[in-house]
Structure formats: C-alpha cells, structure tokens
Amino acid sequence: MIKAENLSFSYRGDEGAAAALKKLNIDIAGGEFVAILGHNGSGKSTFAKQLNAILTPEEGRLTVFGIDTSDEGSVFELRKNVGMVFQNPDNQIVATVVEEDVAFGLENLGVPRDEMRRRVDEALKTVRMYDYRLHAPHLLSGGQKQRVAIAGILAMEPKCIVLDEPTAMLDPSGRAEVMETVRRLNREKGITIIHITHYMDEAVKADRCIVMDGGEVVMDGPPAEIFARVEELRALGLDVPQAAELMYELRKRGIDAPEGILRSAPCVEAIAKMYKDRGTANVR
C-alpha cells in the first residue's frame, strides 16, 4: 500500500552535498510491521517524512494508500491516514491535559464533538492511558508520554503509523510499554507499522527489516535473513541481536549452530540441543 518508485530527495540549500534519498524503491503491503535500520544520517527520518508529505519527492514517485504524496490537494487525507510519532515525547504533545492532546488531531479535522469524545476515550483505552486522561502530560513518564502521543495518532483512525525512533529517549520499561502497544495495534487493528529504531531487539519483532545506508536501501528481508548477515551489518555500523551474534560466533568456530536465531529463548534451546546432539566434550 506504500510504493516508492525511484524516490530521490535532497535538502534545499545543501547543493553539492550527497542526496538524502537516492532512487529508493520500496513496497510495503497493508498490515505489515516493518523495521527500518541504519546508522545516523542514512536517510531514515527523511524517508519517514516523505510518507506523510512533510517532505515531497524531488524525483520519482511515492504513493501511500493510493494517494500521490506530491498531490497537494490530498495532504490532509494523507496525514489522517499516516500518523507519525517522533523521538522526543515532550516536543509532540501540544496540550496541557492528556485528553485534550489526544483530541488535537480530531479538532484539526473538524470532527463533531460527540464522535470526538468517543474516539478520544477509545484511543486512550487502547494504549491503556484512560485513567490518566485528565493528567498534565509533563508529569507522566517517558513511556506514558509516548503512549499518549500514539493515542493522539490512533484517534484519527490511521491505516499506518510511522514511528521515528520512538524509544530512543526511554528507559527499558518505557521501551517495553511502547513496543507492546505498537505490536498490539499491528496484530489487533491491522495497522501498518513502520518502526525506525536503533535497537536490534525491537527490529527482531518486525515482520520485515529494511536497512538503509547513504540514502539507499541496502538490505530488505525478514529479520532472520537480515541478521544472518552479521559481517555486512557490522560493516554498516550496526549491531546484531546478541543471540544472533552468539550463534554467528559459534558457527565461525566451526560449530554447527543453526541460523535464524534472534531471541534469547530459542538461543538457549538451540544450545541445549547442540549439547545433546554432539555431546558436551565436543562443544567445549
């Protein structure tokens, strides 16, 4: 439902400098959970901002749910369907009361009050922040603020949510809250998720990983496939999930460790199985 064809873009006033996006070709289906990886400056945020026409292609085309992002007449229709959550929760909350902030997008769209009330309450319940609806946002934890930001997007009933490093400023429990919420939205409501992250353990939870470098897509595939390419990832300045790294190091030492293991639980199982199959002495 998202289709980028030869999408190129460079920031104005930056002539001579390398383009931020170079002939990007990406196809994302409705309902997919995609993680976008890449080191700083690889063009992830620039791509994200293309998706709801904050920036528009210089060359090539980007269609999102049938809307060409260069079409100025459909900008608000597009932004209603593609919600955006940013890194710093403090800089995207507009109002001084949680529920007023969740209502902000609906107010902008001119949604009638009764329907607004219903959608705000439902969105707050979905992200489990309903009990905090009358609180002041600046007193919430980072994870709670991000969930409020997600609720504000959710109330607009989008088809897709783009999250640009939403967990970068959070503590581990805040990260877990946000990830749990995002995954639930994907599974239960079928919302397409595009999750930009530096955390490999988050990328592992996606259906698909896209790795960007220098404004280009350099890898694209399911996490198991991507994280088997340990050397390439390292060359791009990226980490590998610990479990995958362990398996990779074992394989490098000639031990027959299975590929495609990304999380700790299957990793433990695999190691136990290797012991059983080959005998303890061998593995040592």
Binding site: R79, K80, F86, G105, L109
Partner: protein, 268 residues
C-alpha cells in the same frame, strides 16, 4: 526546585464559580472592575465588599489562597495608601509633623483606595483561582472570535497562550538540568556582584534558547503531522455552553447594578 512552580493558581474544587463558563467569568471581572471604579460613597464600597465576600464564600476557595494573591502588591498598596493619607490637602487637619499632615478627607480617601485595590485583586484572582489555564485560553479564544472578522488572530493568540502554558514546565525542568550541569562543571551562579552574576547566566541562557528553538521546530512538524492548519474549520473537545450558573451570574449582575443605582440615588 524550579519545576515546583505551578502555573497560575487554579484551585480545583466544584463550586458554582468553577462551573461557570469562562466567558461569563471574564466578562464579570470586567463588569466588576467598572463598578468598582465608579463607586464613590462609603455605602457603595460596603456593598461591593459584602458582595465580594459572598463570591469568595461561593467559590469554596480557602481564604488563605485568596490573601496570598495580595502579598505581591503589598508594597504598591502601602505606597498608594501612604500617599493619599499624607498628601490630601483638603479637609480638617488631624495630625501634623513638619510638612506631613493627615486630614480627615485623607483618611477616607486612603481607606477607599485600600479597599478598592484589595477588592480589585480578590475579584480578579477569583477568576484564575476558579478557572484552569487551559479553560481560560479556550474562553479567551471564543470571546475574541467575533473580532476575527476584523482581522484579530483570535485562534492564533489562544494557541500561542496554550502552547506557552504547555511548555513552561518543560522549559523550567530543562533550566534546572542546565543549571545542575553547569554547576557540576564548576560554574558559579551565587557569588560576585550583579554584573558578574548576569554574565554567569549566559551558560544557562544559551543552551536554553538553542533547546527552545529546536523544540519549537519539532513541535511545528508534529502539529503539521496531525493535520493542523490554523483555526478555520476546527472543532473542540471542550464544550463551552452557558448553563444555570451563568444565569445566576447574570441575575447577580443585574441585582448588584440595581443596588448601586439605588445607593447613588438615595445618597445624592
């Protein structure tokens, strides 16, 4: 801690004054001030005082909160009362010390001045004590809406006010952090003369401003992402409607005016 500073002085309880529409309250404060400035006889002052006491009682805000608002203007009050007390040339002399003299007229004028100032502060702080800042900004937007046709950016004014309200605690917190960070690097904000202290503020203000501009930038993008396009065609989650309490406010307004006119006619 800087961030303990609360904004405004909203005291959240349920009272007829709290339930009133913010527009009613704002118009009432303007009306109340007009009456106060038109008051001349002692009887009118007595009536206004009695009415104010009644309003304070109805607001269910503790007296302590209300008198707290008087503290910042104590000096101003002493000054005006003192000036009126000693500088009124008319009336019969009661007391004299060199060029300073107190006359009976002076005493009355000073007393009226004091009462007027106190009532003025109490009346206007009742507005902010019974109306949360966000409701107040919403009320201002709606009150100014008719002037939008004359080119007054009423929505933008209200939006600016509410964003300021939203970011003041955040910026306070940030200032706190910056002060701690600079102090831990050996910056000294406490000692030295005024010029040295002002100079010491630079390492706080520069990062604060840089941070504020970055925030403003990000917030603008975030607002655009949520379909913000100015005030036209916007709806509001909050309902602004005149209710029973606003009707009472109107009745009180008429009654107070009638009483004041009666006093003016009778004492003439």
């Amino acid at each position: 801690m800087l961030r303990d500073i609360t904004l405004g002085q909203y005291y959240g309880v349920n009272s007829p004054l709290h339930r009133m529409d913010p527009r009613t309250k704002m118009l009432w404060v303007i009306y109340y001030m007009t009456l106060l400035f038109m008051a001349s006889s002692v009887w009118e002052y007595a009536l206004m005082t009695a009415f104010t006491a009644l309003a304070v009682k109805a607001s269910r805000v503790p007296i302590g909160f209300i008198t707290r608002g008087l503290k910042p203007i104590a000096i101003l009050m002493l000054l005006t009362v003192g000036l009126n007390l000693f500088m009124t040339p008319t009336g019969s002399e009661l007391w004299r010390l060199g060029f300073l003299k107190i006359t009976d007229d002076g005493v009355v004028i000073a007393a009226k001045m004091a009462v007027r100032l106190v009532l003025l502060i109490i009346g206007s702080s009742l507005l902010t004590l019974t109306t949360s800042p966000i409701v107040l900004t919403g009320g201002i937007e709606r009150l100014l809406a008719p002037f939008a046709r004359l080119g007054l950016p009423s929505h933008e004014i209200a939006m600016m006010m509410s964003i300021a309200l939203r970011f003041i605690p955040t910026l306070m917190e940030e200032t706190d952090k910056i002060i701690k960070a600079q102090t831990s690097r050996g910056a000294d904000f406490e000692s030295g003369g005024p010029i040295k202290r002002v100079k010491a503020m630079a390492p706080i203000l520069v990062p604060l401003f840089v941070g504020a501009f970055r925030r403003a930038d990000e917030l603008a993008v975030a607002m655009e992402c949520r379909c913000y396009r100015g005030g036209s065609g916007r709806t509001s989650l909050r309902r602004f409607a005149f209710g029973r309490d606003d009707l009472f406010a109107l009745i009180w307004a008429v009654a107070l005016l009638a009483a004041i006119i009666t006093i003016k006619v009778v004492t003439r």
